[in-house]
């Protein structure tokens, strides 16, 4: 009998602890106080390093400006952070989807980025057609010899489904053909590059801005991916970097956005391999 009372009491006790945690903490949390005004940007991991770079220069030039915090999480997380207000500005590396457009967000392009199809530097191919790319990534073509290369199984590397980069790739190249289930999925541009750089038979797609001598970028339909061919529109595999917000961002955030869109900001982005949003 005593045992049951004890058990009951302790269950109630534990339950109260939970309730207490759930309710009681919210109040003091607000009083924890802010370290002053902060500006928070959150979202795409592709955009994040570039914005951090911009922040670096911005705060060097404007030491009295409030701190700007840059947070990753992914394009979709950026959309949600902007919609819910957790972040002042959300970052996205893809266009907004239908359902997201209904959220009532302002979308401001701050740069353009191209997607390059990459292979190992020792790969004999120099370029592919869109259709060939589609067949390779869907698994229809499984061996490099079918494309004129040596006899070897093609190792397909892709981003995960929700990635903005993959979304753009699927929209512009794959159309309705799904990417093969056996493709290796990686969670960032950098890791795709690492895999392709280390495997002679691999193929993948990454942000043009981070292509370097470790991998070889293929021509797509005879067009070489460069910032020029993106600007001219010849190279079609391009996506925008967007800043998103729902309600008017605070003044400090707006000043930062002005910097990003200004000459200095855009020059910085271009020097890092992105394409400016300014009209030439």
């Amino acid at each position: 009998m005593h045992e049951y009372v004890r058990t009951g009491a302790s269950v109630i006790c534990a339950f109260c602890l939970c309730l207490g945690l759930l309710c009681g903490c919210s109040a003091p949390a607000q009083e924890l106080g802010s370290a002053g005004v902060q500006v928070t940007l959150a979202g795409s991991t592709s955009v994040q390093p570039f914005v951090e770079l911009l922040e670096e220069h911005y705060s060097a030039e404007n030491p009295q400006a409030p701190p700007i915090n840059v947070q990753g999480g992914g394009s979709t997380a950026g959309v949600q952070a902007a919609a819910s207000g957790i972040a002042d500005i959300g970052m996205s590396s893809r266009e907004l989807r239908e359902k997201e457009l209904a959220l009532g967000l302002h979308a401001l392009p701050v740069a353009r980025d191209a997607i390059a199809v990459i292979v190992h530097p020792t790969n004999s191919l120099a370029g592919l057609t869109s259709e060939q790319v589609r067949d390779v990534f869907s698994g229809r073509i499984g061996d490099w010899s079918e494309l004129g290369g040596r006899r070897a199984r093609i190792v397909v590397v892709t981003r995960e489904e929700g990635s903005g980069t993959r979304g753009a790739f699927e929209d512009l190249v794959m159309a309705d053909t799904p990417i093969a289930a056996g493709a290796l999925r990686q969670d960032s541009n950098g890791s795709v590059r690492v895999i392709v750089a280390g495997h002679p038979d691999a193929i993948g797609y990454i942000s043009l801005g981070i292509v370097d001598q470790r991998v070889k970028a293929l021509r797509l339909d005879e067009v070489t991916p460069t910032t020029d061919s993106v600007v001219s529109g010849e190279y079609v595999l391009a996506r925008p970097f967007l800043f998103l917000w729902k309600t008017e961002p605070p003044r400090a955030a707006k000043e930062f956005v002005d910097f990003v869109l200004g000459a200095d900001g855009q020059e910085l982005l271009v020097s890092e391999g992105l394409v400016s949003v300014e009209e030439p």
Binding site: S10, C13, A14, F15, L17, C18, L21, L22, T45, G72, G73, G74, S75, T76, A77, V79, Q80, K99, V155, E160, E161, G162, S163, G164, P178, A181, G182, A183, L184, R185, Q186, D187, S191, V194, I195, G198, H199, A202
Partner: protein, 281 residues
């Protein structure tokens, strides 16, 4: 004594913190995940072989297979090695060697999973690809990396279990003419069985739950693995891969995977509990 009672009460409430935290976490995960599983359809979810959120397919069978393969491999590699090291430090090694080995094991435990993953990616993956074939990113790579990661867990808890075996057991066996090895194999280890199994269970939990290192070396392919050289996806690596980007039903499905992981680990714990219970005299 009044003060003793008060202290006991304080300790009791602290102990409930473990339950409180667990309840809150469970509630959160189940609240989102369970409805999602039912909405997708339990058998479609658990036994479907296609995971394609953009087309509305949420089958996790391939991921479960991946998790099982990788975990089993990790245990195969890590448990015997870990147990052997635990026996070494408790029974065979002189204090001078222990003084070197124990910090070494602790250091292994402290190395972050992402570092293991990165080293695995740069060293193990090319090695596997060149020597054994396949893409290199594989179940084998995952098992090797995980095996090393769970080693310290197995060692430390097994050590405590072995050391908890009363010295009288050993002395009794030796007095009967057993060699040191016979004593360990037939007397000490069986006596320490509950603690050793506990270490294996916790290690299994750690292996099943590891995300970052696995994402980096296991390839994350979505087809059914047929050999240890195939790339695969584990339940955790899939959550890690897609969580940041997923929304709506996709995210809820990931919480559903969380529910499966949860239940699986609960089953593990219960099994371990049942095994050790029968040992009590």
């Amino acid at each position: 004594m009044r003060s003793d009672r008060i202290i006991e009460a304080i300790l009791f409430v602290s102990a409930l913190s473990a339950i409180a935290a667990l309840v809150v976490i469970t509630f959160f995960i189940f609240q989102t995940g369970v409805p999602a599983i039912f909405r997708i359809g339990v058998s479609d979810f658990l036994f479907g072989t296609e995971w394609a959120p953009t087309r509305g397919h949420y089958g996790i069978l391939t991921m479960m297979a991946g998790s099982l393969w990788v975990t089993f491999g990790a245990l195969l590699l890590g448990v015997p090695l870990g147990l052997a090291v635990a026996i070494l430090t408790t029974e065979f090694a002189p204090p001078s060697v222990v003084r070197v080995l124990r910090p070494a094991i602790q250091l292994l435990a402290g190395i972050p999973s992402v570092v293991y993953g990165f080293v695995g990616l740069l060293v193990l993956v090319p090695l596997i690809r060149q020597v054994l074939g396949g893409p290199g990113l594989s179940i084998l790579a995952g098992s090797l990396v995980l095996g090393m990661m769970i080693l310290p867990n197995v060692v430390s808890i097994s050590e405590d279990a072995i050391r908890a075996v009363p010295q009288s057991y050993r002395e009794g066996a030796l007095a009967l003419g057993a060699t040191q090895w016979q004593t360990i194999w037939r007397v000490v280890l069986p006596a320490a069985r509950s603690g050793i199994i506990a270490s294996i269970v916790l290690a299994m939990g750690r292996a099943v739950g590891e995300t970052m290192a696995v994402i980096m070396v296991v390839g994350n392919a979505l087809n059914m693995p047929r050999s240890v050289l195939d790339a695969t996806t584990t339940l955790t690596s899939n959550i890690g891969l897609e969580m940041g980007y997923a929304s709506g039903q996709h995210r809820e499905a990931l919480f559903g995977i969380g529910v499966v992981l949860f239940v699986f680990i609960m089953l593990l714990n219960s099994m371990a509990r049942w095994l050790t219970r029968t040992r009590r005299p």
